[in-house]
């Protein structure tokens, strides 16, 4: 079960012709797929396209009605390979993943797909995780489109244009026998807006038709000599076909041409930022009626030479607004104009920064620089927007960064607390990290983890550190998501084969938690449309690991610590795998809270727990925080006027996971932690014994309390 439920929103997928759809960008993409008559969708979750997967999951009955097959692929490579169904059959298919990381994984399949080409429309929807809030290396998907000759769409970021891009993408793919990539930036994925819906289309040619009437065409298979011919075909046929289709169907847009002898060429995705910048400079109205001609590339690869020449020929200079590096588009534009012997000056990365996100402030500064050079009369220097003026000195308030961290009650936290405790005994070890929530271990307060080489590659990242004469072992971490994605082979199989003597901790929290809690093979929950509840330990043994330990309750800190210590010190040689299991607290809470409430209402005995710290006995050392980092465990002013340091305190968001108490015990910290159990619907006997106990307790408290009379006013 995913973290966010779209059961209400997916009803919007049923909207018909002429009705107004209001909602999130990613939901609009789903609707567009259905309107385009898609036959199958495959994908792998990851921000910013996780919601696309979640929407499709929640919309499964609608998909079934339309005969659409939807898969949670094992990896992005799987998702991309799924598009092979469109090679021989007139089936429209879509694959989706986070980019560039997902595209990296998928690129083997994508390259094969692009070489042979497709018959049915094949659309690859990539969520471009670039700029603010991104959790990955900063690269462009653009390079993948170029190297494999796939067409790249980068539509203007409003719902109408995004939906149109999906529809155009399929048509372009079919017209050119080429897979098409649709790039959506993170904000566009999450943008709330509206568009006028169309009816959903049931594919005429079905998956069943394909299975029952198999087709093969050797010229579409990547094998010599066909592969050499395919390369020629890309250049000779598909490329010109694409340029022709883009031009004839006006996929790119020109606004307000003829108004000036300068212009701006921009990626579609940058349109809103550019218009806002022009608006603030007084060069456009809020509706995008610009005083500078704009050439909007809704298709950023390939460029259409004829369109470029036409836009540039009567202009002194154009500014290219192309986010990210290298400056593929700008270089391409130079080549086109040079070949055409046009003298139009091209500016781009000389006015704007080569690297980094093009925020509105960056774009304003860049456009200002360009205009200042070519049409200074257009801008009032005295009335420039703040973002185009030199930055005032930074304010003096001390503001700390807030990096993401483990949630309250996260079952992964005790694993790293245990590693910290073992570190105190055995000294530091090399820790190889992976991708997932567990990667937050590299940040304070844990500061564990030296490298991260990609999803599922945690153990592979420590492969070389396998010296037979070393006195310490390495620890690698991998999540259940990464494990099934590829870690079982790239990490575990590799370690067995190469006779590793090191340690792997598999964090098994029942979901791919970091991407929003999607199910995987080892999920504990029953899923009606997927096969779950398979054991990671069995899989690990299956590839030949002998030393396997499973901890079924990671909050048991002593056990967790002992098993890590054992793995690091045992005389037994060979790879060692610890499977640390506990359900993602975020998802567990979401599941259990309503259930508990119902139980209480029905009169069942339910205990709810929270932790607390006695401020009187806390001395303000904060060791407990340094071993936990829980958001619910924080500090508060010391109520004792004599003490200066703030005390630890547990705030209301505590879900009673118990780690605080465990830490206090196992690290022998302090006696300040207590747990409060609130019992709803206690039994009669319980109530009776409590009453008796309290009577005696109250008597003693009253008697001894007299000693304290008259101390405080």
């Amino acid at each position: 079960m995913a973290e966010r439920s779209f059961t209400k929103e997916v009803q919007k997928l049923r909207l018909g012709e002429g009705e107004v759809f209001r909602g999130e960008g990613i939901l609009a993409v789903t609707k567009a797929l259905l309107q385009s008559g898609v036959s199958y969708v495959a994908g792998y979750q990851g921000a910013p396209i996780s919601h696309l997967m979640d929407v499709l999951t929640d919309a499964n009955d609608i998909l079934e009605e339309l005969g659409v097959h939807f898969e949670h692929s094992a990896s992005e490579a799987t998702a991309a390979a799924t598009l092979a169904a469109s090679v021989h059959y007139p089936l429209r298919g879509a694959a989706t993943f986070k980019s560039t990381v997902g595209t990296n994984v998928a690129s083997d399949a994508l390259a094969n797909l692009a070489s042979g080409g497709v018959k049915g429309g094949a659309l690859i929807i990539v969520g471009e995780d670039y700029g603010e809030g991104s959790s990955i290396m900063q690269e462009r998907s653009h390079a993948f489109a170029m190297k494999s000759q796939m067409w790249l769409l980068d539509p203007r970021p409003n719902l109408r244009c995004i939906v149109k891009a999906v529809e155009d993408g399929f048509a372009l793919s079919e017209a050119t026998s080429t897979p098409v990539m649709l790039e959506l930036r993170i904000r566009a994925c999450h943008v709330h807006g509206r568009f006028i819906a169309k009816d959903n289309v049931r594919p005429k040619f079905t998956l069943r038709d394909a299975m029952e009437n198999p087709v093969r065409d050797v010229s579409r298979i990547v094998l010599p000599p066909a592969s050499f011919l395919q390369e020629q075909e890309k250049i000779r046929d598909r490329w010109p076909a694409a340029q022709k289709y883009i031009q004839e169907n006006s996929l790119n847009e020109v606004f307000n041409d003829g108004t000036r002898d300068i212009g701006i060429i921009l990626q579609g995705g940058m349109y809103n930022a550019v218009v806002r910048s022009l608006e603030l400079l007084g060069l456009s109205d809020v509706f995008g009626s610009s005083q500078i001609p704009l050439y909007v590339l809704n298709v950023t690869y390939p460029l259409v030479d004829e369109e470029v020449k036409k836009f540039c020929e009567n202009k002194r200079a154009v500014l290219v607004i192309e986010e990210g590096q290298p400056d593929f588009i700008e270089q391409n534009l130079h080549a086109i104009l040079r070949r055409a012997e046009l003298m139009t000056k091209i500016h781009g990365k000389d006015c704007l920064p080569m690297a980094g996100e093009y925020t509105a402030a960056v774009v304003i500064a860049g456009i200002t620089k360009f205009i200042r050079e070519y049409a200074p009369e257009l801008i009032q220097e005295s009335n420039l927007p703040k973002a185009a003026r030199p930055a005032p000195p930074a304010k003096s308030a001390e503001v700390h960064p807030r990096p993401p961290s483990f949630c309250t009650g996260c079952p992964e936290r005790p694993i790293f607390t245990a590693m910290k405790l073992v570190e105190r005994e055995l000294g530091p070890h090399h820790v190889s990290a992976d991708i997932g929530c567990h990667l937050f271990s590299i940040l304070p307060p844990f500061n564990l983890g030296a490298t991260t080489m990609g999803y599922g590659l945690g153990w592979a990242g420590a492969a070389a550190l396998n010296a037979k004469d070393a006195s310490k072992r390495t620890i690698s971490v991998m999540g259940d998501g990464g494990f099934w994605h590829n870690g079982l082979t790239s990490g575990v199989g590799n370690a067995v084969f190469n006779q590793s003597d090191n340690v792997l901790v598999v964090v098994d929290n029942s979901y791919t938690a970091a991407t929003g809690g999607q199910d995987i093979l080892s999920s504990a929950a029953k899923n009606p449309i997927r096969t779950t509840r398979l054991s990671i330990a069995d899989a690990v043994r299956g590839v030949g690991v002998k030393w396997v330990r499973t901890i079924t309750h990671t909050y048991d800190l002593a056990k967790m610590r002992d098993v890590i210590r054992e793995a690091l010190t045992t005389k037994e040689r060979g790879p060692k795998v610890i499977v640390a299991q506990s359900e993602c607290a975020l998802n567990k809470e979401r599941r259990e809270k309503p259930w508990k409430r119902k139980q209480v209402e029905q009169g069942a005995r339910i205990v709810s727990q929270k932790f607390g710290v006695d401020a009187e006995t806390c001395t303000g050392d904060h060791s407990c925080i340094r071993l936990s980092g829980c958001p619910s465990l924080t500090i508060a002013p010391n109520p004792d006027p004599l003490r200066k340091d703030p005390v630890a305190t547990v705030v209301e968001s505590c879900i009673g996971c118990g780690l605080c108490g465990e830490v206090a015990h196992v690290a022998r910290l302090c006696p300040s932690f207590y747990r409060t159990d609130v019992i709803s619907n206690p039994s009669r006997w319980e109530r009776f014994t409590t009453r008796v106990a309290h009577a005696i307790i109250h008597f003693l408290q009253r008697r001894d309390g007299r000693r304290l009379d008259g101390i405080y006013a």
């Binding site: 809103n272 509706f287 973002a387 993401p404 929530c437 006695d614 910290l669 747990r675 409060t676």
Partner: protein, 508 residues
């Protein structure tokens, strides 16, 4: 309506969008708040666009939700182009769910004095840096507040988290109320409330939170500040001692010494508090010789003497755990209803040393020399104990432990601490005439002695390292500065690395 945006919203054709940025941390409902605003605007004849960059920032990091509103155009084909991210200097309304986030919004240029109405909650959600400091790593509250105040055109502030707590609601609802109350959007209060009803989740509590936020923004929640300083008043039992303090101690030390005698009487008895004042008397004389009106030496010596004399031993911890007032406090914090039972469980880990500490000295020494007894205790406490103080058995266990208070003066630990305290005090008094500043620093050094178990042992080790470095330092001209450096180093990390480093630097 719409005091701030009237010239714009009231015009026939609005020339630009209303821009709103919401800064919240993961799990605070920033997305819900944005959705309410969008729904309200759409129902109110506006075109609304919102977007965000959630991703991993949802996991407790900070996120910005950005909303733009524009009156629904007559012609459906000419939609305005709305931006997907805030432009520094061009934001009308910024909502921050916490004070450091408000300061961050100012720092990022989202809040500007010519334009922005900043709706900020003044509560603090401490950053990891602030939380993990071994001492006090908090950023100055007033500094953050001043940044918010001077950065904004209008600052609407209150502890909205507290209002949420009081109304059993969530901060997003309270902030939505404050947005309505701030009167900056062209919508009536009813429209705001309809959006909450329309959302359909937790409507009743959200509306309660909304009302509280609305009232705050309208200044209706203003509380009368507590001007009576109760801290400096003592009860009847301490009247005589208080009179002695009035006579013998300079006024600037009273805010330390008065709570100190309360604490020590609470800890042991009246005699103990009296003993405290006796011990402090030579420091008063030393201070008088020097004549600093703010008496820093005396204040710090008074503070740490009181804390040292009230060291946390097992009987003190037990005594505090079983008190009636504590039971009541926990009961209240739990928000349990009449029909529910509340149980309190303590996480204790008694060690042989700690048991030995509260025993009469000869017994304690015997215990520390008897390996089998220690093993027995370790076995008994293996893995720590969870004691239910609200059960009779658990209560009596701690009650018994607390009873050792009566013999505390003869206990092993008391003897040990008394000796150390005397050494420290005489050192202070000896240093003060020669180097007052150094004496004041030395007065603060018992700050290192805190925590329990390993933490305490580490503190003791650091303290002793400092004390042994003292004779050598005293010969230096900048002795006080050097000593301060060592003290800060010892306080700044728990590995001891910084102290070792600082020691080397000072010795060099």
């Amino acid at each position: 309506m719409s005091a701030i945006l009237q010239p714009v919203a009231g015009a026939a054709v609005q020339s630009r969008a209303i821009t709103i940025a919401i800064l919240a941390m993961g799990g605070e409902g920033g997305g819900v708040l944005a959705d309410w605003i969008v729904d309200m605007a759409e129902q109110g004849g506006y075109l609304a666009q919102t977007t965000s960059v959630p991703g991993v920032a949802q996991r407790t990091g900070t996120t910005v939700y950005y909303v733009e509103l524009f009156p629904e155009p007559q012609n459906q084909n000419t939609d305005p182009v709305l931006a997907l991210m805030p432009v520094p200097g061009e934001v009308d309304i910024v909502i921050a769910s916490e004070l450091m986030e408000a300061a961050r919004a100012v720092q990022r240029g989202l809040v500007t004095p010519d334009r922005t109405v900043l709706i900020a909650s003044t509560n603090r959600v401490y950053s990891m840096t602030e939380k993990t400091a071994t001492g006090d790593g908090r950023v100055d509250h007033t500094q953050l507040f001043e940044a918010a105040k001077s950065g904004a055109k209008i600052l609407v502030h209150d502890d909205f988290a507290a209002r949420a707590h009081e109304t059993n609601s969530v901060i997003s609802a309270v902030l939505f109320g404050a947005l309505a109350g701030a009167d900056v959007l062209p919508f009536e209060r009813e429209r705001f409330q309809q959006a909450i009803q329309h959302g359909g989740v937790g409507v009743a509590s959200s509306l309660a939170g909304f009302a509280a936020g609305f009232a705050s923004a309208r200044g209706q929640n203003a509380r009368i500040a507590d001007v009576t300083n109760t801290k400096l008043k003592v009860g009847w039992r301490l009247r005589e001692l208080a009179a002695r303090i009035q006579q013998e101690f300079p006024a600037a030390s009273h805010e330390i010494v008065l709570p100190a005698i309360q604490k020590l009487t609470d800890y042991q008895d009246l005699h103990y508090a009296n003993e405290y004042l006796d011990r402090l008397a030579p420091v008063v004389s030393a201070e008088a010789l020097h004549g600093r009106p703010d008496v820093p030496l005396l204040r710090e010596a008074a503070r740490y003497l009181a804390l040292w004399m009230s060291y946390e031993d097992a009987s003190r911890v037990a005594d505090l755990k079983i008190r009636r007032t504590r039971f009541e406090r926990v009961q209240q914090e739990s928000r349990a209803k009449q029909a529910q039972l509340v149980q309190i469980r303590e996480f204790l880990y008694p060690r042989a040393e700690e048991i030995a500490d509260i025993l009469p000295a000869p017994w304690g020494r015997w215990l520390m020399n008897s390996e089998w007894m220690q093993r027995l205790i370790e076995r008994f406490a293996k893995g720590g104990q969870i004691v239910e103080t609200t059960s009779l058995a658990g209560f009596l266990k701690l009650y018994f432990m607390a009873g050792f208070r009566r013999w505390r003066r003869n206990s092993l630990r008391h003897q040990r601490e008394r000796m150390k305290i005397e050494t420290w005090l005489s050192l202070l008094i000896a240093i003060a005439p020669e180097d007052y500043q150094l004496a004041a620093e030395v007065a603060e050094s018992p700050r290192l002695l805190k925590g329990y178990g390993d933490t305490y042992a580490r503190g003791v080790k650091n303290y002793e390292a400092l004390m042994s470095a003292l004779p050598q330092l005293q010969r230096k001209p900048d002795a006080a500065k050097c000593f301060r450096k060592l003290l800060d180093a010892a306080l700044s990390d728990d590995s001891g690395d910084k102290l070792t480093e600082a020691m080397q630097q000072v010795a060099a």
